[in-house]
């Protein structure tokens, strides 16, 4: 057999293998035991897809391919190694934006290669075919808005843009105009425009409109909801990749793009359920902004709040036989996970039973708290999920809530009228004593009062999470 015919047989087999391995890999990522292997299998699948593509190309002009691969690998590797575990949400947002940009660039490159630079004198649809032509527009639109949306999400997470929702008047109308406008103008461009200069200009306008749309979609959403947004944008970048698959008529691209699109959507849904929100509410509600929190908010002043010092907290801990830590967003922001683990170790040495109650959306992303605590060497078995830990609180002497608010709010179970009524929460108030470490009485992202702070068995310790943990640790050591 000639080399060409071997390639013709081998390439589809490699693509099929790659697609199957992607499915195995993602499946593996859904179980703790197989997760690492699953990630490696997915990486292998990617490698096989790349080898298949290079074989299919036949004659390879290495200059730009190699340059791109080397530069991209260097940047990706350095970023992946250097990022702190607490900075993970930002990193995922940036990687995601990068992938979205790639899809848009591939689609643009196809149009330039097959139409603009060939000077065919025809339309894009004539050169690429109807379906690939239209999907280039979709790839450009979705890819670009994934890029700009991810960048805004990154800026909000990194605190470079204010986390508060920014609500422009008439934003839904503006967004609808941008979306329909770029879609219709884009399709018009590929279907009607034959003059290359005109085509370039119109396509760049579509890119600009999509970029603006990505910003407009994310800007009204509050910082605490960014994980949901990133997950959704991740889903979009999968769809954008699938669209380039239609452009290039490549099934591996379509399959893996669709896999990511669907899994991203499901994951987004799971996160929303954990926060007792609907996706529509996250995207359009401007939740956490003043316009929705008319009933709650700061107007209900707190009464009977008892503030304590680190020394008093240490005395309570001294006598405790069982302690549960409930870490939240504040712990992640203050990077207090190492100090918490140190305190837990000291308490364990004194004979107390120590566990951690992890709310599904504790931290800055769902599951993020597990990553942070794992980084601080907290034994995996001590991290208990909400369903497991909730019956335990009533047999527990002391609960330490570190930088969490809404996820321990009794209103979710006791107040029918509360915006968070029905949200699953950690029932910390059933414990003997609840020590709440918090910087102030300010509300969480739900913007409502937390009665827990007024309970008789609650001790408030107003401080930065890391500082407070360090002070308690010092006090406990001295006892």
């Amino acid at each position: 057999m000639s080399t060409a015919s071997v390639t013709a047989i081998l390439v589809p087999i490699l693509y099929l293998l790659s697609a199957a391995l992607f499915i195995f890999g993602l499946k593996g990522l859904t179980r703790v035991r197989s997760a690492r292997r699953g990630n490696q299998i997915a990486a292998l699948a990617m490698l096989i897809a790349i080898i298949g593509t290079l074989l299919e190309l036949g004659t390879i002009h290495w200059t730009y391919i190699l340059a791109g691969l080397v530069i991209g690998s260097l940047i990706g590797t350095v970023a992946a190694i250097k990022v702190e575990m607490t900075g993970m949400p930002e990193m995922v947002a940036l990687f995601n934006g990068s992938g979205g940009a790639a899809s848009a660039l591939v689609a643009l490159s196809q149009i330039w290669d097959r139409v603009v630079e060939q000077e065919t004198g025809g339309t894009v649809l004539a050169a690429l075919g109807n379906a690939p032509g239209v999907t280039t527009v979709l790839a450009i639109l979705i890819g670009t808005l994934t890029l700009s949306g991810s960048v805004v999400a990154y800026l909000k997470l990194a605190g470079k843009v204010k986390g508060q929702p920014i609500l422009l008047p008439g934003r839904h109308l503006i967004n609808a105009v941008l979306l329909l406008g770029s879609l219709l103008v884009g399709i018009w461009a590929v279907a009607q425009v034959t003059e290359p200069g005109m085509l370039e200009a119109v396509l760049l306008a579509v890119v600009a409109a999509s970029f603006l749309l990505g910003i407009m979609l994310v800007i009204p959403i509050g910082g605490a909801d960014m994980p949901v947004v990133i997950s959704l944008l991740n889903s979009y970048s999968g769809v954008a990749a699938a669209m380039t698959g239609f452009v290039l008529e490549n099934n591996v691209l379509i399959i893996s793009g669709a896999l990511v699109g669907a899994s991203g959507l499901i994951l987004t849904q799971i996160m929303c359920v954990a926060m007792n929100r609907t996706l529509a509410n996250v995207l359009f509600g401007g939740f956490g902004a003043q316009e929705t929190s008319t009933g709650g908010g700061g107007k209900d002043a707190y009464q009977n709040v008892r503030s304590f010092s680190a020394e008093e907290a240490a005395l309570v801990l001294e006598a405790a036989e069982s302690v549960i830590f409930v870490p939240g967003y504040g712990l992640a922001v203050a990077q207090a996970q190492h100090t918490v683990h140190e305190l837990a170790n000291v308490l364990e040495k004194r004979g107390a039973k120590v566990t951690y109650g992890i709310h599904p959306v504790a931290g800055r992303m769902p599951g993020h708290m597990n990553v942070l605590l794992a980084e601080a060497d907290v034994p995996y078995e001590q991290l208990l999920e909400m369903e497991v830990i909730n019956p335990e609180f009533k047999n527990t002497d002391v609960v330490i809530v570190v930088g969490a608010n809404d996820v321990v709010n009794p209103a979710a179970e006791k107040e029918k009228g509360s915006p968070i009524y029905g949200m699953p929460v950690l029932e910390v108030w059933n414990a003997g004593t609840v020590i709440v470490v918090k910087r102030s009485l300010s509300s969480g992202f739900a913007g409502i009062k937390n009665e827990l702070f007024e309970y008789d068995n609650t001790m408030m310790l107003f401080s930065d999470a890391k500082k407070a943990m360090q002070e308690i640790l010092n006090e406990v050591k001295q006892l």
């Binding site: 530069i71 990706g76 990193m91 992938g99 379509i254 669709a258 994951l267 999920e385």
Partner: protein, 96 residues
């Protein structure tokens, strides 16, 4: 005989169902690594970028393709590495 578009649509829709099925149950512990891993997979658009950059001439199309390779590779390499870093910590703790 089905045209490539129809085959593509079949593949697309079926893959979406597969995606829904495999992610249906995930422990919250793995939400972040899964998001990050799936994100790396979406860098598959690298395959398209390779096709786009396969030329000797530094035309706009080739340069766009090269930029696409860079951004896609950042997504792929960075995504898989960072996911592995997270998952490595889970693994080593389980023995203890």
């Amino acid at each position: 005989m089905m045209g490539p578009l129809l085959v593509g649509l079949y593949v697309f829709v079926l893959a979406i169902f597969v995606g829904f099925e495999i992610i249906a149950k995930v422990p919250p512990t793995l939400h972040t690594p899964l998001m990050s891993g799936a994100n790396a997979v979406s860098g598959i658009t690298l395959v398209g970028a390779l096709v786009a950059a396969n030329s000797q001439r530094p035309t706009v199309a080739t340069l766009l393709g090269c930029a696409a390779i860079i951004t896609a590779t950042i997504n792929v390499v960075g995504g898989f590495l960072v996911t592995d870093r997270m998952l490595k910590m889970f693994g080593s703790k389980k023995k203890g």
